[in-house]
Symmetry: C2
């Protein structure tokens, strides 16, 4: 799910703390730097990729670089969706069409449409749905809800935002450079040996379990049975699952699209989701979080009341124009068109799976997810990244960037334009087949 | 600045923790409730006002209630601004016009336009500007930046968001019911005796000083001399000022519109601002925060680097459509029209000041701010609120809701439609003059 901070402005490149002194400054405040921020790894994945891309372009100024890296949507919005936002925006200049502050929780019609369209038959009430400006932002607000005293577990590999937001919140210990892991965070390995689903019999209890399905980066959608195990595990341990369903529209088989398909989940799970990767709202910004009324803290206090307070204090509602667009996405006509976009990216994924498979690689994901997870056993993923870039001018993402268990893999994104996906496929087949 | 959580859905009304047990629940997780959220006052101001309004309407079903309560804009957007958003949204359905993830920090053109239009001659660089979805959200991200170990000071009275976000972040002690104040927060009294500016000679050092000018609710714009004192105070103490300039467009006299008009401020101050109360973007959602490169932590680390990291991890950029609107607001034509809207609300404020003055009340604010602060010496502000509502069917805000030093005042918002302001004025003059 989500983007990552991939484009820091040049003048903002993070300096290592120890070099600051030499820059010289003639005055500093007496405010101590937030120790949580100090803990954060200074190098992040996507800026590093960007830097390598820039160096590559310098070396090969005539190369046409194709990015299958960051999961950024490329297909235009469905027309009825764009039109509804366009009309809404224009009406804001009229007395009849103008609206000021909306409800912090999102407008009633949109909450109802999400409940009825996305959670049909799942008993999610509209008042349990909190509309947001996107899943990444909501993740951070969920962290604010949980506070610094909770213990957490994450899938390894996983989207780095779970860990980074936990570190910022003060839930973690220090980074251990030998393992690339933070203290006080349980890493649930998801790899080939366990069908990309954690071995819960070996997983320690934590207060919170961050779980993304279909997973970014592995593309694995947890099966009904696996999710039943997860919910039971949370119930036995009294844990809260923070379930990231941002890619659920990509599920093609019978895997659950929502954690609420699993009986008992309403007592243990929050679900975060988004319009970004389905409707192409990566730039428009719209998502939501579900907090069921049956979810209680140890003392019996309803979690939803605290989340409502967080939303009211730290957020002021998603843009009214974006919300109009969300509503159009959930109309019968809009929804159909949104699903055409999803099908488009799924076809891209199919082409990529076929390409890497034809080259003899073991490929995971891609059928229930817009990400293809390609295995290069025994190789360092940064080396694979460099090799592919050098040979084909194609950007991928090294698996190690998603956690230690991602080593030996690369993630390939299907969010490109078809012509680029086809061109990438051609290059990969032509240029890698001789060297593989 | 900002709205407040004023409309909780009925089913989400916050229950007092002690009553939960009697509701009954058959399962709770083993996750402890975040102790910071437990500290928060359960009754908040605007839901309480809403409740009283509903009761009033029940009692007087035919009364036409006029709200001069919440500071919500009512004037339609300038046409060129709405049109630019409308066109941008429509183009999102074309391959040429579609955009996905933007820069988390905001688009370059908008950052440049803010630097050049708002901070002309003040040496604020575009790379120091972080575009956001509004000032309230940015305040929360600034709190995440600062962490839980800092000591803070706030103006009393002030917008409740500073304190609530501090409590959520874990910066405060418990609420003391006798004083209505939280432990570990320094309340800087701003009242008639000190010209609504804190007596800094009696103010203890804190790491952070939240300061809003023109102030919400008092409407007082700090003078150049006062702000010079504040910056010197911060420099001497090594404090960081978080300066809220959301109402700066309302300044009519020579008071500074930005803290960066004060020499030395770049070393001690962050500034938060917004398009909400100028362009009427309360629903569209757009604001920004400035973090100067000269602002350093005690250890010499630049604050801007950590804020950039927060923005990249906890935020994903403001809506691209809203940003297109922001850019239109800052074009020569757009800016002129935006200032017409500001003038409209300023005329409302003038009418309200005149009204209350003619009734013999002492009135503050209103000339440099869209809020009028009316003094009722010796009265409880909730009683005044009830009295005005009963007599005139007009909603105001009791000053006590903004802090203990707001007792004896009410805040009257000038963000209404002219016809309502005039009708309110008529009612106040007719109905209160006999009883005052």
């Amino acid at each position: 799910m989500f983007s990552l901070c991939m484009q820091p402005s040049a003048s903002l490149k993070v300096q290592r703390e120890e070099t600051i002194g030499s820059r010289g400054y003639n005055y500093s405040t007496r405010v101590a730097r937030n120790p949580n921020l100090k803990k954060l790894q200074t190098n992040y994945l996507f800026p590093e990729i960007l830097e390598r891309e820039l160096k590559h372009v310098e070396k090969y100024p005539n190369a046409k670089v194709i990015s299958l890296g960051i999961g950024d949507t490329t297909q235009p919005l469905p027309q009825p969706v764009a039109l509804s936002m366009s009309n809404y925006a224009r009406a804001l200049s009229t007395p009849q069409g103008y609206t000021g502050y909306g409800l912090e929780q999102g407008n009633k019609e949109l909450r109802r449409a999400i409940a009825e369209t996305i959670y049909k038959d799942l008993l999610v009430e509209e008042t349990e749905i909190f509309v947001s400006d996107g899943a990444q932002c909501d993740l951070s607000r969920v962290q604010l809800l949980l506070g610094s005293n909770v213990s957490i577990a994450v899938q390894d590999p996983s989207f780095p935002g779970y860990i980074d937001s936990s570190v910022i919140m003060g839930q973690s210990g220090d980074l251990k450079n030998d393992s690339g892991r933070y203290g006080n965070i349980k890493y649930m390995k998801c790899n080939l040996e366990n069908d990309f689903f954690p071995d819960l019999s070996k997983t320690e209890r934590t207060d919170v379990i961050f779980f993304c399905s279909p997973n970014n980066p592995t593309g694995h959608a947890a099966s009904r049975q696996q999710l039943q195990q997860l919910v039971e595990f949370a119930q036995v341990n009294g844990s809260i699952i923070v379930y990231d369903a941002a890619y659920s529209a990509y599920i093609s088989d019978s895997s659950p699209k929502s954690i609420y398909e699993i009986p008992g989940s309403r007592k243990v799970a929050i679900e975060i989701s988004s319009f970004s990767k389905t409707a192409g709202f990566t730039g428009v910004r719209l998502g939501w979080t579900v907090v069921p009324k049956e979810l209680f803290y140890l003392n019996g206090f309803p979690v939803i009341h605290d989340f409502n307070r967080i939303i009211c204090t730290s957020f002021n509602g998603a843009s009214n124009i974006a919300q109009a667009g969300g509503l159009a996405c959930l109309s019968p006509e809009g929804f159909k068109e949104v699903m055409f976009k999803v099908d488009y990216y799924k076809e891209n994924a199919r082409i990529l799976v076929e390409t890497f498979t034809s080259l003899g690689f073991r490929v995971y994901g891609g059928s229930n997810a817009p990400y293809v997870w390609v295995h290069f056993p025994g190789s360092k993923s940064w080396n694979v990244f460099n090799w592919i870039l050098d040979k084909t001018h194609i950007i991928t993402v090294p698996g190690i960037g998603f956690g230690p268990a991602g080593e030996g893999y690369i993630r390939v994104s299907a969010f490109g334009r078809r012509e680029n996906i086809l061109e990438a496929s051609k290059r990969l087949i032509t240029l890698l087949c001789h060297t593989n």
